[in-house]
Amino acid sequence: MKTTALYLFICISLMMAGCKKYLEKEPDNRAKLTDPKKVSQLLASAYPLGSYMAFNEAMSDNAGDKGTGTIDPTNRDPYYFETVSNSDQDSPDNYWFACYNAIAACNEALQACNSAPDPENYQDQKGEALVARAYAHFMLVTLYSKPYNPTTSSSDPGIPYVTEPETTVIKLYDRKTVAYVYEQIEKDLLEGLPLITDDSYTVPRYHFNEAAANAFAARFYLYKKDYAKAVQYASTSIPVFLPNLRPWNTTYIATGINNLPAEYQKTTEPANLLLVTCVSIYNYGLNYATYRYALTTTIKDEILNTSIAVTGGAWALDLGTFVGSQKNPAIPKLNYTDFALANPTANYGLPYGTISLFTTEEVLFNKAEANAYLGNYDAAIADLNTYMSTRLLNVTPGNLPAGNTITQSKVTAHYGNSLNVQDALVRYILELKRAEFIHEGMRWFDVLRYSIPISHDLIGSGDVVTGTITIGPDDKLRLLKLPDQVKLSGINDLNR
């Protein structure tokens, strides 16, 4: 009896010990970050899978009320500076969540890099994770907090800067300040940037490649008003602009308006430094032009005709496209063929769009703007001339005729000689940039940085203006409202 009990005891103890291993088996074939390659795969989800274009564009001065057109809350509500009522695709809430999803992937990847027995083999991954984490936070702080200002940023509320994986259902976070967020972004960026290498990617244009990471650094330092660094990183990103600009006045014109949208966001287009493909009705380019609160013919003419006055000539951008009606002008740049069916035989599914997060053109403009602030007017103007040589109809890229060349005097004259060279140049750069990025939401970032006032007319029947929404330079409606749910994490200042 005693020996039996002893045997039983031994058996049970052995079983208990065996159980630990036995119960460690994962319940399904989920992934484990066991080698650098797997961490790289995880980092493919370190980019916000959401579009900011719909609300950015509707809030900006690129949008007007057509009086008729497709009504969509993600288009209508931002135009009225109201809070978008849903958190579906293209809504600000959706973008907020997409950014933090990307950040979670970065943090998980960084944890894997740091806890690996051979961290030296994870340097490429660490670089991408740090830069991607900095990027997502940077986009959030830009949209949800006041623009960077050395004097007030240390007290302006920022956005939660997350550096470790969340392991509880509800965790408390703190907004801290804009200055703090910028510090963290800079820290991550400077640590990650040297580690980035193009060799580690299979599809580099969908990851922070060297050009894209430096383009991000250039944008960051420009927004931080550290112009010397902005120029430095812009030059590293794209040492020579001409071959890397979109060939609007050559290849694009030849492609034709029906096939151009599919070409515009291809990885083979050198101007696309960083791409992301995500679910978006806006970027699935069928609706963006028919939205009621969008680019009107008046605004289109204002944007294109004013900016072209300095050089003369005609924009190659303006192919005279309209979608559905003459009220819906469009530049054919958003791909409308990317529709993912719910299953192979379904007649419904999800619309996808591809977004160029960084382009050669933006690097060029950021560099020129920084150069203008540094007093390097000639350098800035030289880059703008390179740009215009690819945008004016019937011009050979790189060979801008003398009559179309931008000069300091032409720029100051453009503003009735009321501005000094620096101010005139910066304003002109913003004008060109506005034209280049029509539909793409970039204008809103400049509206924020320069506190440009916005006035949105409301059109009633018979094209009568029935009201105007005016947003002044300090209006708190300029900042997006944080999603209501963030209260669950102890954040009560929702901006609005």
Binding site: P27, D28, A44, P160, A262
Partner: protein
């Protein structure tokens, strides 16, 4: 499992006799201090009395009967052949007792042998509860449970045991959501316990948990998807092999299943071999099922339908535009024929109003009976043969069965073969081993179908290529014909290709093969008389292959080839558009052949259990039973699927895939094959103690410690202790009750305990998954890893506390017996979705953030109303009442989640509550329905994805509150008539979604359309919306994306009560007279019976208009309850 009956060996072999007697003496000496029966001296010089104990009802020997000399207090038990031997002196009383039988005491007067027949003790208290871990005397048991003999609940002609329990057990609700073979009914023991997790009970067969081949969620159960055919794990069990069912309901009863017992347990015990002569039984069931009739359903005839079609025509729906929609019937065919030039130069139909009228008249008169065309009077046969035999050393049971259903519809049939082989060996006095092998093989054919998809845009479900005969008959209007004037099959057009339902059913089918094998071993070893070791181990392997064969002649394959005109090429969504060239025309990518789609599911399951059981009685008064054990379980599941393109069935089976169809799918991120694996690991330790004082006061307690890998690999979440305790008081054994003669027994019970279940979340550690990320061009697609769920270190099991109080009693010589239970259940830590700030990277998380309560009562009342020698009437009523309420749920669902037919979950409402959009009249100008929408405005548009649900109306729960059955058995001599009625009440049902923004020529409309809005003013008298005008539809669709008719389907107008009373079965059986049997020379027993199943739905809500309140018409492979008549023959050799 019984390993009793070996004590006899001591005596026969004589070797250990003295040792045993010594032991007995020793124990009685030690523990008899307080005993009032203390024996003054020992008389060892008695006479040896031999005999045999048999079961009166079954005539078979009874093993394990306890035989005791009341004077000497010495006892023995009968062996496997029912034999015993005991010392006795003349004048001694010998008592024979056995759990479940009435004890008998006989005076020994010097007979040579005493042969005893024990009869079953009437009333619930005499029974044995088989928990799968233990066999317990119900008298001592404090939990809530019900035991059923298979012979009493069996419905001849039903092959699936899960469907037989309906109405038999108080508190067990069974809804037959589909009657297709293999589809599981919706079973709830005491209602729902979980909000998002499983609510189905645990099935246990012969002590081993029956794992499901595929886990089918609550909603999937009623989806009609082909996977539901694998939903019922018990479909492979031969009904005739089953001895009994035990339904364990409360925490005390289910405690030994610990962390999987939250939803209750159904224990099936199969038959065993018995020592004695060979018993050969044959059962033959011959059934036929009746075709459904249009009179039972609410569908217009062809004349009425033609008038609806002509309104559609007038309103602009049936212009030549329908030719580009791909689906057209009578009108589309007309337009085709008007444009067809015959060889003689004339048109097939002249373009004149007269010719058109003549053409349409034929179809208006057609009145096609789709039920008659697609259904048939089936013939179902089931043969089952079993042989039971054995000796003291070996008992064996063998059975085999064959079930063949040639199909109720032209598209389905089933064959099932089962084998069951069970041997028990008594190797020595101490060691017993047993082996059990079961095998079943199923071959089934079903109409070809693909999974349904939820369309969140319109808020409905869609299924492509649905050819389920039942839903086809209900949804296809009766003007369409299957045959033309010449008797040839007539085609109409679906997906731009010719379609005839009969041709399609021949060319598009699913073949299902399921093989289920189980090998089980059992062993027990007696260390001492009190201490026993038991082992049980089983390995089970199940494999199913589902072949979806779509031949080149099917509409589904031809749809991929319809490209005859530029118009069709533009509109046919089955053609391929090259993304590199968006302005090019679409092209055919399935030039030859059809599809061969294959899906395979596999399950490998091990289950091993070791336990020590100690049973002893101290001082006659203190009964102790202790059980200590350990369990290990292991299941691996695998699912594989493959789509084969371009298989040529009629052309020697050549596969000719076009590379572009693969390119198309890969670009769309639909790999043409896939494989997933699931791993389930489970370990547990358990301890159970029972104590009975003076056979009056009983205590019962269980502790169990479970570990599972299902929560993910975190160590903290993995283990969970559960426990329960209970007590029972046998009041009738008290002295003060002795004089109350009319009370035969009275027992009070109470129990309390914690049980648990694994919820639907597995992220105690982070869950990373692989996927091919969506990119517009195939060359850019990368395999990536994404975060499916963040870690939740607080994740734990779903749990509940159950309190149960019950009383069992028998009155008037047990002619009236009853069992009543009330319970309260507090479920907590239930998994629900919860919105979070999203800052951690997941805005909607699954966590233990919901609680619910439920309470209910159950009653079982059984009475012998007439109990005469030649005739009798026995009646049993069961009823169970259950109400649930969600007390905490952080997640706010969307409107569509709440209005769908399966119901949704909202705080302060029951689980699976059904909500409706408030209907607020028809628009006076257009007859379009209007509603109170999410913003509180009256509008035709309701945003189904809104989470503003305050304007919805709560209708009731989808799950019935009251369920039960009423069983009556009348006997007269050799005749027995059984009438069984089931009922349920207190739930609401969503009516069939019959209304649409637009109707095609195919649609059959319900008779409500008679009363539809036709002109302004009708809104005062009618609540049936108009048929929308085409121009109006185009206008409103563009401006508002509203789906008013779809909203109407989910409105307060389209709800009915789920209450019903159903005459479930009527059966008449006749036992052939002895004289006849004797003449035959070899027959022992013969019985004939006729049973009618589901003959009459006595009561249901009139609003249902024929819709079965139990059935979800989801298309796919779903079928409603059939009316069936069965002739059954039972013979014993």
């Amino acid at each position: 499992m019984s390993f009793r009956g070996t004590d006899f060996q001591y005596f026969r072999q004589g070797k250990h006799k003295w040792a045993l007697l010594f032991a007995l003496t020793f124990f009685s000496a030690v523990f008899s201090i307080n005993s009032s029966y203390a024996v003054p001296f020992q008389d060892t010089a008695g006479i040896k009395v031999n005999g045999k104990v048999t079961d009166l009802e079954e005539g078979a020997p009874l093993a394990g009967v306890s035989v005791q000399n009341m004077r000497t207090r010495r006892g023995t038990v009968t062996n496997a052949a029912g034999n015993y031997s005991i010392d006795a002196a003349i004048g001694d009383s010998i008592r024979f007792s056995f759990a479940g039988k009435l004890p008998k005491t006989v005076l020994y007067t010097g007979q040579a042998s005493i042969n005893i027949e024990l009869t079953k003790s009437e009333g619930a208290l005499g029974e044995v509860i088989i928990t799968g871990f233990q066999n317990l005397d119900k008298k001592k048991f404090s939990g809530a449970s019900a035991s059923l003999k298979a012979s009493e609940v069996k419905i001849d002609g039903l092959p699936d045991v899960s469907k037989m329990l309906e109405g038999r057990v108080a508190g067990v609700s069974i809804q037959n959501v589909s009657s297709t073979f293999g589809a599981a009914p919706k079973i709830r023991i005491r209602g729902a316990t979980s909000i998002n997790g499983e609510n189905k009970p645990l099935w246990v067969v012969d002590g081993v948990v029956l794992e499901d081949l595929v886990n089918i969620s609550n909603d999937q159960l009623s989806s009609g998807d082909p996977t539901t055919l694998l939903g019922s794990s018990v479909a492979g069990i031969n009904v005739n092999d089953i001895e009994s069912f035990d339904i364990l309901k409360d925490a005390a009863a289910t405690a030994l299943y610990g962390a999987r017992a939250m939803n209750g347990v159904v224990v099936i015990t199969t038959k065993k071999g018995r020592a004695g002569r060979h018993v050969i039984s044959y059962t033959g069931n011959f059934s036929t099922q009746f075709k459904p009739l249009y009179t039972d359903y609410n569908i217009m005839n062809s004349v009425q339908q033609m008038s609806v079609l002509s309104e559609l025509d007038r309103k602009g729906w049936l212009t030549t535009n329908i030719l580009s929609s791909g689906d057209y019937g009578v009108y589309g065919k007309y337009y085709d024929l008007v444009n067809t030039v015959q060889p003689d130069g004339s048109f097939a139909i002249a373009n004149t109003p007269e010719a058109k009228r003549d053409y349409l008249l034929r179809y208006a008169k057609a009145n096609t009976d789709w039920f008659d065309i697609l259904f048939r009077q089936s013939f179902v046969q089931e043969h089952s043969l079993s042989i039971s035999s054995g000796t003291d050393k070996l008992q064996s049971f063998f059975s085999t069965s064959f079930y063949n259903d040639n199909g109720w519809t032209v598209a389905d049939n089933v064959k099932r073969y089962t084998l069951n082989f069970r041997n028990n060996y008594n190797i020595s006095d101490k060691l017993n081993v047993g082996f059990l092998t079961t095998a079943s093989y199923r071959q089934q054919q079903a109409p070809g179908t693909v999974s349904r998809n939820a369309n969140v845009v319109t808020g409905g479900f869609e299924r492509d290529f649905d050819i389920n005969p039942f839903s086809f008959a209900l949804n296809t209007n009766r003007t369409l014909t299957a045959y033309d004037d010449q008797g040839q099959r007539e085609n109409f057009t679906r997906n731009f290709a010719p379609f005839n339902i009969l041709t399609e059913l021949e060319n598009n089918r699913i073949k299902l093969n399921v093989i289920d094998l189980k090998l089980q071993g059992e062993a027990s070893y007696k260390f001492t008389k009190q201490l026993r070791y038991e082992f049980i181990g089983a390995i089970r392997y199940v494999r199913s292959t589902q072949e979806h064969e779509v031949t080149e002649n099917s509409n589904m394959a031809n749809a991929y080839r319809a490209a005859s005109t530029a118009e069709i090429r533009r509109n046919n969504r089955f053609l391929y558009q090259d993304p590199e060239n968006p302005s090019a025309e679409k092209v055919v990518v399935l030039p030859y052949g059809g599809f061969y789609n294959r899906q395979e599911d596999q399950l490998l399951n091990f289950d091993v259990r070791n336990s020590l059981n100690y049973v002893n009685t101290f001082a006659e008064k203190h009964d102790v039973n202790l059980l200590l054990g350990q369990q290990l379980k292991y299941s691996d599941r695998q699912r594989f699927n493959n789509t084969g393109y371009g298989y040529q069935y009629d052309n020697g089976g050549v596969a000719t895939p076009d590379f572009r169809i693969l390119k198309q799918n890969i670009e769309q991120n639909f790999p043409y094959y896939g494989m997933t694996k699931l791993y389930d690991r489970f370990a547990a330790f358990y301890f159970n103690a029972q104590y009975t004082y003076n056979s009056k006061y009983n205590l019962y307690a269980t502790v169990r410690y479970d570990g599972s890998n299902q929560l993910g690999s975190s160590r903290t979440a993995r283990w969970l202790p559960t426990w329960s305790f209970g007590g029972a008081w046998n009041v009738n054994d008290e002295n003060f009750m002795k004089n109350i003669k009319w009370i035969n027994y009275l027992k009070l019970r109470a129990s309390y305990g914690l049980t648990a279940s694994l919820g639907p979340a597995t992220n105690s550690n982070i869950i990373l998954r692989n996927q091919n990320i969506h990119r517009p061009f195939a060359s850019d697609i990368e395999t990536i890893i994404y975060i499916a769920n963040l870690a939740n270190t607080e994740l734990t099991w779903e749990k509940n506390y159950t309190t149960n109080i019950g009383v069992d009693f028998g009155f008037l010589n047990n002619r009236l017996s009853s069992s009543i239970d009330v319970y309260e259940r507090n479920s907590f830590d239930l998994i629900t979705l919860i919105k979070t700030s999203g800052i951690g990277g997941e805005s909607l998380k699954a966590g233990n953030y919901a609680d619910m309560t439920s309470h209910g009562a159950e009653i079982l009342l059984s009475g012998k109303i007439i109990d005469k020698k030649t005739w009798g009437w026995k009646s049993t009523i069961t009823a169970g009442y259950n109400e649930t309420k969600i007390t905490r749920a952080e997640y706010l669902p969307q409107i569509f989640d709440l209005v769908k037919a399966e119901g949704g979950n909202l705080k302060d409402y029951p689980v699976n509550g059904l909500f409706s959009i408030r209907y607020s009249g028809l628009d006076p100008n257009s007859g379009i329905p209007q509603f109170l929408n999410e913003k509180g405005e009256v509008s035709p548009a309701v945003y189904m994805q809104s989470d503003s649900v305050k304007n919805l109306k709560f209708e009731g729960s989808v799950d019935p509150k009251l369920t039960g059955g009423f069983n009556n058995t009348f006997t007269y001599k050799a005749f027995s008539l059984n009438i069984f009625v089931t009922f349920q009440a207190g739930n609401k049902i969503r009516l069939y979604p019959a209304f649409k923004n637009s109707y095609s020529e195919w649609d059959a409309t319900p008779k409500e359309f008679y009363d539809r809005w036709l002109m302004p003013g009708d809104q005062r008298t009618s609540n049936v919306p108009s048929i929308m005008d085409y121009y109006y539809a185009v206008l409103t669709n563009n401006a508002t994306s509203a789906y008013p008719y779809n909203n109407y389907n989910y409105s307060t107008e389209r709800v009915a009560k789920g209450d019903f009373i159903r005459l479930k079965t009527v059966s008449l059986s006749y036992q052939l007279p002895e004289t006849f049997i004797k003449k035959s020379g070899f027959l022992k027993t013969t019985a004939l019976s006729v049973a009618v199943i589901n003959p009459w739905l006595i009561y249901s809500d009139k609003k249902l208009q024929g819709q079965d309140p139990e059935f979800f018409n989801a298309g796919g492979v779903a079928q409603p309850l059939q009316r069936q008549i069965t002739l059954s023959l039972k013979a014993g050799l």
